[in-house]
């Protein structure tokens, strides 16, 4: 879906950046790249431009510019209620974080089930049941 | 006195002040248009500002009592605006006094006709309602 279709509060992971010329370059240099997590902070009163949170920074983009960005909608784990099965899409962290998560079986592509809601959460992966702290639950994104 | 009680008290106090401010604001606008209902200064945008600030406070009041961030946001912006308006009028008063005496040089002048606008009184009264802002770390988000 297009980035401009995400609603305030929703998060997406970027799958493609199209457009050409100065707009394309500007998007790239601001870090709007495939694989990046982007969250919609709010819309302007007129619905345009839109404020996004990306890499810890707040950026504003016009709707027409956001149309150039393809995203896949994702949700942070901490919002998932108990009983739901979700698929891990992306982890927001460095090598250390990714390693710790993989030891629990939390790897992009795998499925997990939420046993206890945030926080701390309990999830069941193919490797067993694990506690997920608040800080971690905010950085694991699922579909 | 626990937290919730203190916050509730501040919010209720601020809300009452805001209702008064709303009326004063309306009065200022009405005076501007020319219908002398109130003895208030005739100032369309001044009145409008009071109404904006007061409505923000009232809009966020309920959620602030519930200790939600969504409410606190409106509450503190509203209070900030009211304090800003008050500060402005204090500054205007001081500048006006200074100007009056400068223009009086060489003349025989009466003492300055001191008029305290309601916004200035509101400023001091609103200072007592900033407690929720100071306790902002105790608030929580909607979804939690």
């Amino acid at each position: 879906m297009k980035l401009s279709e995400l609603k305030p509060g929703e998060t997406g992971v970027i799958t493609g950046v199209s457009g050409s010329g100065s707009i394309h370059r500007r998007l790239l240099s601001m870090g709007i790249l495939p694989g990046t997590i982007i969250k919609v902070a709010r819309y302007s009163p007129f619905g345009d431009p839109i404020e996004y949170e990306i890499r810890g920074v707040f950026l504003s983009l016009r709707r027409s510019e956001a149309n150039y960005v393809e995203v896949e909608k994702i949700v942070p784990l901490y919002l998932i209620p108990p009983g739901e099965k979700v698929k891990i899409v992306v982890l927001d962290g460095g090598v250390g974080f990714v390693r710790n998560m993989s030891r629990m079986g939390i790897i992009p592509g795998r499925e997990v089930e939420v046993i206890r809601p945030c926080c701390p959460m309990v999830v069941r992966t193919n490797l067993g049941e694990f506690y997920i702290g608040r800080g971690e639950a905010y950085r694991i994104y699922v579909r | 006195m626990n937290l919730k009680f203190k916050i509730g008290l501040s919010v209720v106090y601020a809300s009452i002040l805001s209702v008064i401010a709303l009326c004063i604001g309306l009065g200022e606008i009405i005076s501007f248009i020319g219908l002398p209902i109130f003895p208030s200064p005739a100032d369309m945008i001044g009145g409008f500002s009071l109404i904006v600030g007061a409505s923000l406070i009232l809009y966020g009041a309920r959620d602030t009592i519930k200790l939600l961030y969504s409410g606190l946001s409106f509450y503190i912006v509203g209070i900030a605006i009211m304090l800003g308006i008050g500060l402005l009028h204090i500054t205007i008063l001081l500048a006006d006094i200074l100007d009056y005496y400068i223009l009086c040089i060489g003349e025989v002048c009466q003492a300055y006709p001191l008029q305290i606008r309601p916004e200035i009184s509101l400023f001091f009264l609103y200072l007592f309602s900033i407690y929720p802002f100071l306790s902002r770390f105790k608030f929580r988000r909607e979804e939690e």
Binding site: P45, V57, S60, Y138 | S49
Partner: protein
């Protein structure tokens, strides 16, 4: 020793530059372009260090002037050290430029600026960062001057063993192959050139082509296509992604976010500022508070300056001599009266006029700097972008329009913030229509006499009309004369911060200085000319019917009639050309008392006059500022023409329709 300061925009680079160089700085332009260049020097441990502030950029591509200037400087001038000023609160994004810099030069010192704010957001392991980068890293707080000495020490004595940034294997081997070929061409930094060639960098391609190596270019192109095929994306996106993964990885190794998922004050405030219903009203309130503040605080200063220079006519009938009177008397003792009068009541008066509006200018810039440094201005641009686009500008343009209500000169100067030339010119063309404080004072004066009962209403009608004309004209211009592409609006919204008083004051002085020099000289000259026009030919009554102005007015009378403008009004308008407030003085002089004035014009004539004053031509200072910003006499003439056309149009329309309908005759 030569140090270059590089970094993203808004990282506090200028504060750091100021902290290092202090008063020893010089601001000019990079040769041949309108980009500002700041140079300075500092003495550190006995060594003289020359510092150059490069333009702020997000990357080092060949696509914008700023980027080309920055990278060319590093390539050609080979500074001993490049300091990358990083906004530590925005670490990941800022590290991207660092990766590009690291490919350009080995000798980099990283300044982690705004470190005090960053500490609240992340726990940063500076030592680890040094190890991972192989470069000196110094935490700084430039506005407070913290860390500056450490920074300079590292620059002078630090060791640089930068880690190489590795691209994926298949890209890396191609880069190395190109690099080897380029080594034969004897250019500096072959690896950087190789990387840029693969990225299809226009400037580097031109450079290699001029060296005659077409085959290298072909090879690079071939390699680029190969890489694009392997990864399935265009080369620019790919290379940016590779660099960002390095930045991303480094970021997560050295910084741990504190308070994940917490709500910041910035978030809370923005929640309200950008609210569907409350957003715009809050903006209006902020504007109201700002302007009220400026005008009321300026008033006592203006009156004081007026008193000092012009003296005062006492109610009791006497007169206090001001500096100008005293100077006149003194000069008249050794110069002929006319010369003393020319110097004092002409030019010196002009200087006094400039000084009288200086408080307003300074306060306007103070408020502007306050709003900008606090971060609110970015929100204004965010809010107003949609509306602004309808009239051909972008969000940031609303600020110069708003400033126009204070004074058109700083407003026009502020258009520099608009990157796009076309938008800038459009903004400058529209600005004079906005009635500045001086014009509003004239309106207040006239309406208090002619429209006593409905004064506020009439004033508002004028203001609203001017805004409507700006909107309509903007829309028309954007579709015709100033038609074209806009800039990408990808704009950063910095966190709110309490701006430092020192910072605001510095910004205020910088901007005010410009105004004083430009407007000052013009107004003083204009004052001299006006004096001459009122005093010549010799011996006539000053400003009376026989003087040049008087004759001019008599000549223009029949032209003014269909617009309902009396000859006296024409004189006033003429004087208003050099400073609008003077119109009030002229009316007082020509008519003596308010009742005489009231009787001299019918209400409809008065309203027509008001409309004429609203539009006709901006004051000399404004025209001077316009020339300064556009360097085009044609543009200045355009603005004058625009003004007169609107003025004549509206005056004519209102006066004649009004007379026809028998309204206010």
């Amino acid at each position: 020793m030569l140090i270059a300061l590089a970094g993203n925009p808004n990282t506090g680079k200028s504060s750091l530059f100021n902290a290092i160089t202090g008063a020893h700085q010089h601001i000019g332009n990079w040769p041949g372009v309108t980009v500002e260049k700041k140079e300075g020097f500092a003495i550190f441990e006995g060594e003289k260090i020359k510092v150059v502030d490069l333009p702020g950029t997000y990357s080092l591509t060949a696509y914008s002037l700023e980027e080309i200037i920055a990278r060319d400087f590093i390539l050609k001038e080979e500074p001993d050290v490049v300091v990358d000023v990083i906004d530590a609160t925005n670490l990941e994004r800022n590290l991207y430029l660092l990766t590009e810099l690291m490919e350009l030069t080995d000798r980099i010192v990283v300044a982690l600026n705004m470190f005090d704010e960053a500490k609240k957001k992340y726990k940063i392991d500076v030592e680890k960062m040094r190890k991972l980068l192989g470069l000196p890293v110094v935490p700084t707080v430039a506005i407070k001057g913290v860390g500056v000495d450490d920074l300079l020490r590292e620059a002078v004595r630090g060791t640089f063993h930068p880690k190489k940034i590795d691209y994926p294997e298949d890209v890396e081997k191609r880069i190395e192959a190109l690099e080897n070929l380029l080594k034969n061409l004897n250019i500096k930094n072959p690896r950087w050139h190789a990387i840029k060639l693969i990225e299809n960098d226009g400037e580097v391609r031109r450079k290699i082509a001029s060296l005659g190596s077409k085959n290298i270019l072909h090879m690079a192109e071939h390699m680029r296509h190969e890489i694009e095929d392997i990864y399935g994306d265009d080369i620019e996106t790919l290379m940016a992604s590779f660099r960002y993964s390095f930045a991303h990885g480094l970021f997560h190794e050295v910084a741990v976010p504190l308070n994940v998922g917490g709500v910041t004050i910035t978030d809370m405030i923005d929640h309200v500022i950008a609210h569907k219903i409350f957003g715009l009203p809050i903006f209006l309130v902020v504007m109201y508070l700002s302007f009220q503040f400026v005008f009321t605080v300026a008033a006592p200063f203006q009156d004081a300056i007026d008193l000092i220079f012009n003296g005062k006519d006492l109610a009791s009938g006497g007169h206090i001599n001001g500096l100008i009177d005293l100077s006149y008397n003194w000069m008249a003792s050794f110069l002929p009266a006319w010369a003393s009068s020319f110097i004092n009541y002409g030019m010196f008066r002009g200087l006094a006029a400039v000084l009288t509006f200086t408080p307003i200018i300074m306060l306007l810039f103070f408020i502007l700097s306050l709003l900008e440094d606090s971060g609110y201005l970015a929100r204004v641009a965010f809010l107003m972008d949609r509306l602004m686009r309808k009239i051909g500008m972008e969000g940031r343009g609303v600020i110069s329009l708003m400033l126009g209500f204070g004074c058109n000169v700083p407003a026009i100067m502020s258009t520099r913030a608009l990157k796009n030339e076309r938008e800038r010119k459009l903004s400058i063309a529209l600005n004079p229509i906005i009635p500045c404080g001086a014009r509003i004072q004239v309106f207040a004066f006239l309406t208090s006499i002619f429209f006593k009962e409905n004064q506020a209403l009439v004033l508002w009608s004028l203001l609203l009309l001017s805004m409507a004309v700006v909107a309509i004209l903007g829309y028309i211009y954007s579709k015709t004369i100033f038609k074209g592409e806009g800039e990408p609006f990808v704009m950063e919204l910095p966190p709110y911060r309490v701006p430092s008083l020192k910072g605001i004051t510095i910004h205020m002085w910088e901007k005010s200085e410009g105004f004083l020099k430009k407007a000052g000289t013009i107004i003083i000259l204009a004052a001299g000319i006006v004096w001459l026009a009122a005093a010549l030919p010799w011996g006539v009554e000053f400003g009376g019917k026989e003087s040049l102005i008087g004759q001019f007015a008599k000549f223009m009378a029949p032209i003014g009639a269909p617009f309902g403008i009396t000859p006296e009004a024409i004189i006033a308008l003429f004087f208003g050309f050099f400073a609008k407030e003077v119109v009030i003085d002229v009316f007082s002089v020509l008519y003596g008392s308010k009742d005489v004035l009231l009787a001299a014009m019918s209400p409809i004539q008065a309203y027509s006059l008001l409309l004429f004053i609203l539009f006709y031509t901006p004051c000399v200072a404004t025209l001077g500022a316009i020339y300064e910003e556009t360097r085009s006499l044609r543009f200045v003439l355009f603005v004058i023409l625009e003004g007169f056309t609107l003025a004549l149009f509206f005056s004519f329309l209102v006066y004649n329709i009004g007379s026809l309908l028998g309204v206010g005759v």
